[in-house]
C-alpha cells in the first residue's frame, strides 16, 4: 500500500498555496469507519488522523472518550484497526493518533512496522513528551513514519524550538489549554501559539483542539497552514451521521477554508 508520505505531501500542498484540512476519526467508532475514511479523502481532506482506541485517553474530552469506548466495546484493537486500513485505496497520507502505551506495549519496531504495513506515515503520541522521545523517534523515522509533536499555549519559546526541531510531518499547535472537544468560540491563544511556532520551523503548522466549525477552520487557516478537526466530526459519527454526514461536514469545512474567513 503505497501512499504519499506525510511530510512530503503536506509540504507540497502548502507550496501549492493550499490550506490543509486534517480531519480525525476514531478507528472502529462506528461500523462504517473505513468508508468514512475513503469519503473524507474524496471530499477534500489533505491527510486523515486515525485514532487508535486506548482505555485511558487523558488528552481527550468526553466525545473522543465516548468514541474510544464505543470502538473498544465493538472489539476494535489498535493492531486490528491498522490491518483493516491497509486495504484502502487512498491518495492522501494517514496519521495514527494514540497514546504511548499502545506503542510501548507492542514494541517500537513492531508498532512502526504495523503502521507502515497499514500505509500510515505519521504518528501522534500526545503523552510522549520531548523528554521521553528518544527510542521511539529514531525507530519511527527509520521505518518511514513522521513523529508529529505538539506545542501547547503554555510551552515556552526555548522548548518550542526544541520540539519543532524534533517534529516531522507538521507541527501540531494545540489551540487551547484543555482536552479535545468542541468549543463555541475559538480560543484567543490560537493566534499566539501559531505566532510562537512560525519563526522556529519551516514545517507546516496545523492547529487542533477546539477547532470545531467551518468558520473556526477558515479563521485559523488564515494564519496557520492547516486545521485539525476531531471532536466535531467524531460527534457527528457517534450521532449516526454516517458516511454522508461526515462527507457533508468535511465539504463544508473545505469550502470555508478555501473561501477564507468571512
Amino acid at each position: 500500500m503505497i501512499r504519499p508520505r506525510l511530510e512530503t505531501h503536506l509540504r507540497a500542498q502548502v507550496a501549492n498555496g493550499r490550506k490543509l484540512l486534517i480531519p480525525y476519526l476514531m478507528a472502529g467508532q462506528c461500523p462504517e469507519w473505513l468508508q468514512v475514511v475513503e469519503g473524507l479523502a474524496a471530499a477534500g481532506a489533505d491527510a486523515i488522523e486515525i485514532g487508535l482506541p486506548f482505555s485511558d485517553p487523558i488528552m481527550d474530552g468526553p466525545v473522543i472518550q465516548a468514541a474510544a469506548v464505543s470502538a473498544l466495546h465493538a472489539g476494535t484493537t489498535p493492531m486490528g484497526a491498522l490491518a483493516e486500513l491497509s486495504a484502502l485505496n487512498l491518495e492522501i497520507p494517514l496519521v495514527a493518533m494514540t497514546y504511548y502505551n499502545v506503542a510501548y506495549r507492542a514494541g517500537h519496531e513492531r508498532f512502526a512496522g504495523r503502521l507502515v504495513e497499514a500505509g500510515v506515515s505519521g504518528a501522534i503520541l500526545p503523552d510522549l513528551s520531548l523528554e521521553e522521545l528518544d527510542g521511539w523517534s529514531e525507530v519511527a523515522l527509520a521505518a518511514g513514519i513522521d513523529p508529529v509533536l505538539l506545542v501547547a499555549p503554555a510551552t515556552g519559546v526555548e522548548r518550542t524550538a526544541a520540539i519543532c526541531q524534533r517534529s516531522h510531518g507538521f507541527v501540531y499547535a494545540v489551540g487551547t489549554m484543555g482536552v479535545t472537544g468542541e468549543r463555541t468560540e475559538l480560543a484567543t491563544s490560537v493566534h499566539e501559539v501559531v505566532d510562537k511556532i512560525r519563526p522556529l520551523t519551516d514545517l507546516p503548522v496545523c492547529v487542533g483542539v477546539g477547532v470545531s466549525t467551518p468558520a473556526h477552520a477558515a479563521t485559523v487557516t488564515a494564519f496557520a497552514d492547516g486545521a485539525i478537526v476531531g471532536s466535531a466530526l467524531v460527534r457527528r459519527l457517534l450521532d449516526g451521521g454516517g458516511v454522508a454526514g461526515a462527507v457533508e461536514f468535511i465539504s463544508q469545512l473545505r469550502s470555508a477554508i478555501d473561501e477564507g474567513p468571512a
Binding site: 504511548y100 499502545v102 510501548y104 523528554e131 521521553e132 505538539l150 515556552g156 484543555g178
Partner: protein, 397 residues
C-alpha cells in the same frame, strides 16, 4: 537513560528510578511539571519550608504518631508486632503528610486552587482539609462507584468546603478519577495545582510525595529503635499507588529490615502486571496484550488501582523490597482480628498488610521476628461497607 541503584535515593534529573518513572505527560502539562519540580527543589532545600511543614504537621496534624506494640496478637502469631499509628494522624491516615506539603507548595507557587483525585476518600478528605486550613479552593475527583462506596467521605469533603466531582468515565473508580483530574489540570493549570495523592504520576510527583511521606518513616525508625534496640526484621505496608509504603520504607531502606509491600489480589501490579505507561509514568501496570489498561478489583477502594508507583517497581526490580498480595476474605478476617484483639479498627487498606502478616507468620516471617506494620489509616470510613459485606456472607445479623 541513566539509572540509580541507591535504594530510595533521589531519582535521576529526568525522574527515573532505575528503568521506571519518567515524565509521560501531554505537552500542555509539561511546563507545569517542570515548574513544580523547580518549586519543589527550591522549597525542599529551604529550611524555612521544612520548619513550616513540620510545624503544621505537629500542631495541626498530630505528629508524631505513636508506635504501638500489639501484645495479644503478637502472642497468638508468635512474632513481635508493632504498629506505626498513622491512623491517629489528623483526618485518619498518612495522607495528611503529603497534602500539607503540597498545599504549602501550592501557596508558595502563588496558585490559589487545588484539585485532587481520590479512591477511598482519604486523600480527598485530607486535601479538602489542607485546602481549608490554608484558604485554597479545592475540587476532588472521585469515581462514581467510589462516591457510593464512600458516601460519608463525600459529605466530609463537602463539609470541609471542597467540591466533589463524581467521575462517570471508564470503570468509575480511582484510575478514572486520576484521568479526569489530569484532564482538568490541563485547562486550569495557570492557577491550579494538582495535588496527586500517591507516589505516582509524572516526575516529580513520585519523588516529591515520597519525600513528604518520609517523615513517618524517620519517626518510626527512631521510635522502633528506642523500643527494640534494633531495626525490625520486617517492615510491612499495603500498596495501592504506594505512598504509605514509600514513607515507611524510606526510613529503613538503608537498614537490614526486609521491606514487604502488600497489594490487593485484584490489583497486584508487581506480580501480575507488565511494564507500561499510565498516568504519566512508566511502571508495572495491569494491561492486556494491546496495552489497554485492565481494571483492578478490590474490596478496598484505596487499593483499586491498576498500577503502582515507579519506585516500588524499581525496588522490586533490584530486590530491595518484596511484594505480596492479599485477597478480600482474609482481609476481612484480619480487620476483625485486630479490632477484637487490640482495640484498633484498621482501614481496609492496611488490613491487607495485616492479612499477609497473619498468613506469613511462622512461614515467610520466622517465629520470634520483629515486624513493623504501617497502620496507614483507621477503619471508620469502612465500617458501613464491612458490615454490609459481613451481613451478605451471613457472618453478621
Amino acid at each position: 537513560m541513566t539509572t540509580i541503584n541507591t535504594p530510595m535515593g533521589e531519582p535521576t534529573a529526568e525522574g527515573w528510578f532505575g528503568s521506571f518513572g519518567g515524565r509521560y505527560a501531554p505537552e500542555s502539562l509539561m511546563p507545569a511539571c517542570l515548574e513544580l519540580e523547580a518549586a519543589f527543589r527550591d522549597a525542599w532545600a529551604d529550611p524555612a519550608f521544612h520548619a513550616e511543614f513540620e510545624s503544621v504537621l505537629h500542631h495541626f496534624g498530630g505528629r508524631p504518631t505513636p508506635v504501638t506494640e500489639c501484645l495479644r496478637l503478637s502472642n497468638q502469631l508468635g512474632i513481635r508486632l508493632l504498629l506505626k499509628r498513622e491512623d491517629l494522624a489528623h483526618t485518619g491516615s498518612h495522607k495528611i503528610n503529603n497534602v500539607i506539603g503540597q498545599a504549602l507548595l501550592t501557596k508558595r507557587m502563588g496558585k490559589t486552587k487545588m484539585i485532587a483525585e481520590t479512591g477511598a476518600g482519604q486523600h480527598g478528605v485530607a486535601s479538602a482539609t489542607a485546602a481549608a486550613l490554608l484558604g485554597l479552593e479545592c475540587t476532588v475527583y472521585m469515581g462514581e462507584v467510589d462516591t457510593q462506596r464512600q458516601a460519608l467521605n463525600v459529605f466530609r469533603m463537602e463539609l470541609l468546603g471542597a467540591t466533589v466531582h463524581p467521575v462517570t468515565s471508564g470503570s468509575r473508580t480511582l484510575k478514572d478519577a486520576v484521568n479526569e483530574a489530569m484532564r482538568t489540570w490541563v485547562s486550569e493549570v495557570h492557577d491550579t495545582h494538582y495535588c496527586l495523592g500517591s507516589v505516582m504520576g509524572p516526575h516529580p510527583f513520585p519523588w516529591m510525595v515520597r519525600e513528604f511521606q518520609s517523615i513517618l518513616g524517620r519517626e518510626a525508625r527512631g521510635q522502633v529503635t528506642d523500643l527494640l534496640g534494633d531495626v525490625p526484621d520486617f517492615v510491612v505496608a499495603c500498596v495501592g499507588g504506594g505512598s504509605n509504603a514509600a514513607g515507611i520504607f524510606s526510613g529503613f531502606a538503608d537498614a537490614r529490615s526486609a521491606l514487604i509491600g502488600v497489594e490487593a489480589a485484584g490489583g497486584a501490579a508487581i506480580s501480575t502486571g507488565t511494564p507500561g505507561v499510565l498516568h504519566g509514568m512508566k511502571s508495572q501496570i495491569l494491561q492486556d496484550d494491546d496495552g489497554q489498561i485492565i481494571e483492578a478489583h478490590s474490596i478496598s477502594a484505596g487499593l483499586d488501582y491498576p498500577g503502582i508507583g515507579p519506585e516500588h517497581a524499581h525496588l522490586a526490580d533490584i530486590g530491595r523490597a518484596t511484594y505480596a498480595s492479599a485477597g478480600d476474605d482474609e482481609v476481612l478476617d484480619a480487620l476483625q482480628m485486630l479490632s477484637k484483639m487490640e482495640g484498633i479498627i484498621p482501614a481496609l487498606e492496611p488490613a491487607h498488610a495485616l492479612a499477609w502478616i497473619i498468613r506469613a507468620a511462622g512461614k515467610e516471617i520466622p517465629l520470634g521476628s520483629t515486624v513493623l506494620l504501617n497502620m496507614s489509616g483507621r477503619g471508620d470510613k469502612d465500617v458501613a461497607q464491612v458490615r454490609e459485606v459481613l451481613q451478605a456472607k451471613g457472618l453478621y445479623r
